[in-house]
Symmetry: C2
Subunit: 201 residues, 2 copies
């Protein structure tokens, strides 16, 4: 989103997003209210609405900020690096699932965010840019493993990462199955068997 | 959902779901209204609200009915069978994506349904039961291919299908990338390389 008028106060942004995140994780999506965030942050409602026209916009900004912290680590062992990265994605999804003290298989806030991106053109664009950045990092990791001979030369890197990240989202958003480190390990094993240059033993 | 009072009139259900489906696909999720469906179907609003308490409930029932038609075919060639089945899932997702004449990468109605399942306990349960049935069909297909030696004995069938279906949902709901038959072919190739009993040539 482009700032309008005078330059944005990033400290205010930070405070607002921190308060909004706390509200979402404490009460779930339904418990987030722009008015309450404005009050807690000591910021005029109009300021908040100008910057985030709907609750959907504010919630997506919160998640974008959390995901920006998700680093990908390249240790030279593609299997371990993928498992670690998928575990981070799973943890973020589980946190959204459990927001508001929710238990059980519902996707919770993760589901609401998917709908927000589907409903508002601008949010959709923002979310897709964000995921494109994440995908690019993962593809670079896979490419380096390919170049050093850990993965086979003709692998389909884009599809490989779709399968890995996709399986996590499928379980959280669609089937309601759990995702954790043990699942990430099964997933990477299953997907990599087709990507390793060495034949299966 | 269990029927209450006198037995449901399945012909009325059929008509209502057909009208609701037409409205969703013509106008998108925002264009669906229980009141308008009641009017077009010549059914009392109260009858509709008793059976489907919210628009979310009605929309999920529409999709459940459409998905019931998705058959899985076992020709004895697991690669072809999976590609064909994934192509059906992709087509259903694309139809929801394009509902209301929408173009471009937004998930459209598919995104709204994910949120509906996350928001309402009963819808979530219904949706998960539906996906469990679909997953079971796919797992049986994979299992038969394993038994006849097309797939390796120690494959992780559950993860394999998560990777396949998951990649489609990931593109539609998250990254906004297209899904079609060509993509289903790339996907099955990438995933199966790790599942074939014969070594890669």
């Amino acid at each position: 989103m482009t700032p309008r008028g005078r330059p944005r106060d990033t400290q205010v942004d930070e405070r607002v997003l921190r308060i909004a995140a706390a509200l979402i994780f404490e009460r779930g999506y339904a418990g987030l209210s722009i008015d309450e965030v404005a009050e807690q942050a000591g910021v005029a409602k109009t300021t908040l609405y100008r910057r985030w026209p709907t609750k959907d916009h504010l919630a997506v900004a919160v998640v974008a900020r959390l995901q920006a912290d998700d680093e990908i680590t390249d240790t030279g062992d593609i299997r371990a690096d993928l498992v670690n990265y998928l575990e981070k994605i799973a943890a973020a999804l589980n946190r959204m699932r459990a927001a508001g003290g929710r238990e059980g298989p519902s996707a919770g806030v993760a589901g609401e965010l998917v709908a927000a991106a589907a409903r508002h053109e601008d949010i959709g664009r923002l979310a897709r840019e964000q995921y494109a950045r994440r995908n690019a990092m993962a593809l670079a990791l896979i490419e380096r493993a390919r170049v050093r001979g850990e993965l086979r030369a003709d692998l389909d890197a884009e599809v490989l990462f779709d399968q890995l990240a996709g399986a996590l989202y499928y379980r959280v958003l669609i089937t309601g199955a759990p995702v954790d480190r043990a699942y990430a390990e099964r997933l990477v094993s299953s997907a990599l068997e087709g990507s390793l240059t060495c034949p299966r033993s």
